[in-house]
């Protein structure tokens, strides 16, 4: 073994024996470096030791090679722990159990590590590999400390016939939920609409379990409070009380900040989730103190083990490249012979969205991304392409053809700018064609990777928000005003979210800001004689709240979100400044102001029109883009609309005319409204639901019939059906023997193996069917075309929720 430096017992003291610490210990031993591995518990790798019994541990990212003296392969928790224990023995690691490090102090070049028992250890270098699990996140709502709440699950088989609520959407929560579901009723609560944070394997595990009904899921929900025998959730449909025997909260863990800061390590911000910054060699701001593993920003086992190996090499003075170096070299090969580190530095410098990523995250992001080199004039993607990846320009320029009719109208994006971000927000088709304006290099990052970064790295979200705010303000509020004049406005803007029915501002409030509606829509109402009278409906892409700014009066009306709505909240002062400099902006805002004033006065005299808007909003029409509405004073109940729908769609009507509510002779039949943010799309395992160029939401042939969309649709417009057999056609059958005979459809299908059914196989696959607005059919929706009296009309809310349309 190499000698420890003068005055220190050890060359390196490794704190924490998780995957990173173990691997570091093993490598130090292998390199004959004088080392000690300190573990608080009486066994190694406590986090994995506490994994639930028999848990299958994954070895992601698959693409990354393992670099450690210990072995690690995807497998059961017990096998992995066993292999590591053997490895520790085999390598002769100097591990000290029950050694709880209470403080680390640097005196000169020597670190003094005080253990809880009073012992002190000295070392020239310290590797902090303590992970995060010593500091797990707790439920922050009322009742979070009640006995039915627990934060860990050792053996899922201990519980039987209980109702258990699992909170969280990460890997731990998913694994707990799925394992518990074998013997219990399990409800999982996910704050978001998707399981974006989970590993791919866990993702399909939980999606399958939810599909099969083994686990019930509350999406977009969070705990409000815990009672003795139930949890109250805030869901998109309001509060829900879920009675349960047990609550398992798996909310992740935060850095043990107090301890780490006491060691002299600095954190970049006050955010409890933020991690300390480290150099590419994992060295913290305290020279000689290294941080690896989850605390260093990477929670995956394989990555942590690689870091453990590498950190010992760095301490020994060997500047070895990271394990993923060859993969990245290959990825960047199209750009010629480049040094990966320099290139990554250049990426960080050039592309603001990625500049806040630490080296590890950036490397991972690049591993997931594709590098494209385009020649001038080559197409990156076309308008209406269905793709949802995110692009950044690294070298050169790209042109966005913003006009659908005139390809010469081009907005140029330079190095460092990004495009395709709408795919992240809405998952819709591309709204413009993008071509290479010069020879260029662009990075294409998958949607899931970006969503993960947005959720975990604040700077990515901020950079994305800032630009998309600017783009939206320029588009909807201040067309023609250059970006530099909008700096203050954009800088002070904030993105705000409102749930259905939530108030943006109240009548009589003092108004010092306005909202640009980014997604969703709002209603404007005033209180007349104690009753709320709706004056207007304001869809996305419009601003609201300018009246109080212009008139310096209190708010003249109350504005509520019609459904889940996201707005850009703009400072009134900053906007006034923009208006002062730009007379035409002022003029157009004032024109809108006058128009609104006039309209409001008219609407106040017409409360019945307001109540129709109110009714339609209550039916969820506000979030639709194209809604079938039936005028009951014209409908002769001939059901020709249903027949036409069935005739157009293999004999299955996607419309139920008579069902659905009516108000003031306006009838909302059960039929798809093609929502702005389709609920059905939220969780489609084969990604079979898309939005077509004209806005229709449709289900393609890759549907697996899981039924998620059917249950996610709040309006009941999706049905699972076997596609019907070929229809009986009298002339064809009688004259040419074509198709099934009368009443022989079933046998005919069986004998001919139609609709995906194997021959002689009666079981046919069910598919989700819904209105596709007769996509691709000349003349449009068959229901409307076939209405003899003009009672059926398809309309978009922003068009019909106006005074003119409401007679």
């Amino acid at each position: 073994m190499s000698d420890a430096p003068a005055g220190a017992e050890y060359e390196v003291a490794i704190v924490g024996s998780g995957p990173a610490g173990l691997s570091a210990g093993a490598h130090a031993s292998k390199m004959r470096m004088k080392h000690v591995l300190l573990e608080r518990q009486d066994h190694a790798s406590d986090t994995i030791y506490k994994y639930q019994k028999g848990k299958f541990v994954m070895a992601t990212p698959d693409i990354l090679p393992l670099r450690s003296d210990l072995s690690f392969r995807a497998g059961k928790r017990e096998e992995i722990l066993g292999a590591w224990d053997e490895g520790l023995d085999f390598c002769g690691v100097n591990i000290k159990y029950n050694a709880d490090v209470a403080a680390i102090e640097k005196q000169g070049d020597i670190f003094h590590l005080s253990l809880a028992g009073g012992e002190t250890i000295t070392a020239a270098h310290v590797v902090l590999s303590i992970g995060l699990q010593g500091n797990i996140n707790k439920l922050r709502c009322d009742g979070g400390d009640l006995p039915l709440v627990q934060y860990q699950l050792d053996d899922p088989e201990e519980y039987e016939d209980e109702t258990i609520v699992v909170i969280g959407a990460g890997d731990a929560a998913i694994e707990n939920a799925v394992a518990l579901a074998a013997q219990n009723t399990v409800v999982i609560v996910n704050r978001r609409a998707e399981f974006a944070r989970a590993k791919q394997g866990n993702l399909s595990l939980i999606v399958n379990a939810i599909d099969k009904g083994d686990v019930q899921c509350y999406y977009e929900s969070s705990p409000l409070r815990v009672e003795d025998d139930a949890i109250i959730l805030e869901t998109p449909d309001g509060e829900a009380r879920v009675p349960c025997n047990r609550i398992i909260a798996r909310l992740g863990a935060s850095p043990p900040r107090k301890f780490v800061e006491a060691c002299g390590v600095e954190f970049p911000s006050d955010d409890p989730a933020v991690l300390p910054e480290v150099s590419p060699q994992y060295e913290s701001n305290v020279a000689g103190m290294y941080i690896v593993g989850a605390l260093g920003g990477y929670p995956l086992i394989k990555q942590a083990m690689n870091q453990g190996y590498e950190v010992i090499e760095y301490i020994a003075g060997n500047d070895i490249p990271p394990a993923d170096e060859p993969l990245l070299e290959e990825k960047f090969a199209s750009m010629g012979d480049v040094d990966v580190d320099q290139l990554l530095a250049a990426i960080r410098k050039t592309i603001p969205v990625f500049s806040g990523l630490n080296t590890l995250l950036l490397r991972e992001c690049m591993l997931d991304s594709k590098v494209h080199s385009f020649k001038q004039g080559e197409i990156v993607f076309k308008r209406n392409d269905y793709s949802d990846t995110f692009y950044t320009v690294f070298i050169g320029q790209v042109g966005i053809q913003v006009s659908p009719v005139d390809p010469s109208v081009v907005v140029t994006l330079r190095e460092g700018e990004f495009f395709g971000e709408m795919g992240l927000i809405s998952g819709r088709r591309r709204t413009a064609t993008v071509v290479a304006a010069t020879d260029c290099v662009v990075f294409e990052t998958p949607r899931r990777t970006m969503l993960k970064l947005i959720q975990s790295v604040d700077s990515v979200k901020r950079a994305l928000d800032k630009t998309s705010i600017l783009r939206q303000v320029q588009m909807h509020l201040t067309p023609g005003v250059p970006a530099n004049e909008l700096e203050e406005l954009v800088e002070t803007a904030e993105i705000e979210n409102f749930k259905a029915g939530q108030v943006l501002f109240n009548q009589g409030d003092i108004g010092n800001h306005m909202h640009l509606i980014r997604s969703g829509s709002c209603t404007v109402s005033v209180s007349i004689g104690g009753r709320d009278v709706v004056l207007s409906y304001v869809p996305a892409g419009n601003y609201i709240g300018e009246m109080a700014l212009l008139s310096d009066q209190p708010r003249s009306a109350t504005v509520r979100a019609a459904h889940n709505t996201e707005t850009i909240c703009l400072s009134g002062d900053a906007f006034k400044a923009v208006m002062e400099k730009n007379a035409n902006i002022r003029a157009s805002v004032e024109a809108k102001f006058r128009e609104r004033l006039r309209q409001n006065e008219q609407m106040e005299d017409r409360p019945e029109a307001g109540s129709i808007i109110q009714f339609l909003i209550e039916q969820g029409i506000g979030e639709g883009t194209d809604v079938l509405l039936i005028d009951e004073t014209l409908c002769i109940h001939c059901d020709n609309c249903e027949k036409a729908c069935a005739e157009t769609h293999n004999g299955l009507s996607r419309l139920d005319r008579e069902a659905g509510p009516s108000f003031q002779s306006l009838h909302v039949p059960t039929s798809c409204r093609h929502c702005q943010h389709p609920h059905c799309m939220a969780d489609c395992p084969p990604d079979a639901i898309h939005r077509a160029p004209d806005g229709e939401v449709f289900i393609d042939d890759s549907c697996i019939g899981c039924g998620n969309c059917e249950s996610n649709c709040p309006y009941g417009v999706i049905q699972l059906a076997t596609l019907p057999d070929e229809k009986f056609d009298l002339f064809g059958w009688l004259l040419f023997g074509k198709g099934p005979g009368p009443g022989e459809e079933a046998e005919y299908a069986k004998a001919n193996g139609h609709n995906g059914a194997a021959k002689d196989d009666g079981d046919k696959i069910k598919r989700a069917v819904k209105c596709d607005m007769c996509k691709g059919i000349k003349g449009g929706a068959a229901c409307v075309r076939a209405c003899p009296t003009g009672a059926a009309a398809r309309v978009s809310p922003e068009k019909f929720m106006t005074l003119a349309a409401l007679r």
Binding site: L634, C638, A786, T789
Partner: protein, 273 residues
Amino acid sequence: MHESILIYRNHRYLKWSAALIAVASAVYLFHSPVEKPNGGTWLGYTLGVIAAGIMVWLTWFGVRKRSYKPGTIKLEDWASAHVYLGLTLVVIATLHSGFQFGVNIHTVLYFLMLIVVVSGIMGLYFYLTCPRLIAQNRRGMTTETMLAQIADLDRDLRSQVMSLDDETAQAVSDAVQDTRIGGSLWRQLSGSDPDCPTTLARQKLETSTESTDQETRRQILSRLTKKEDLLTRLRRDIQLRSLLQVWLYVHVPFTLGSMAALFAHIVTVFYYW
């Protein structure tokens, strides 16, 4: 956003029809044939061809209505034009006849056509009035929800009937078992049932002096009254909906009849050229 067939496309088909009538009438007025005006003059033949064309086209509506092929022309275009051209047909055919009527196949065709047009006008009247009445009568409920509510009431009544005296119990049982909705065409069109067992049971219960538990009695009475109200509305619903259908029983057969007569008319005209 919704347009009735009368005002459809800013009265496009009304304007077309009015123009056709105006031109035909003007030519008729200035036309002075050697004999008095009849179907055999050049104008008579022209109007005859136009009228026959319109008749065939109007009849084709029955086929077009059931065709769901893609296309930009909506069924409402056809319906709106059907109404106005159908009315125009009366004028064109009359001018074609030169006001000559007799006991012959030609006049038979003329009157068959009139029956079709008049029944069509009745149908149009029903189409324009009944939907609003149906909506008002339903008060936002569907036929199915009304039937479901009646079924619920029946279930409750059945469970309570035992507490009544025999005679009233029998009446209430009859109300549950023998109440009929709909029935023959006349019953549907009448919109009521003079011997409705539910009404009889309610009357019986109201006049019954037998001492039963007052609370149960009140409940049964309230359920019968509720059921009666639902029945009234359902029968009214059926009545209005049959009005939307019943005129077709005249309109369609007479259309087919007039097609046959049209064929005979043309054949005889050319046969006796």
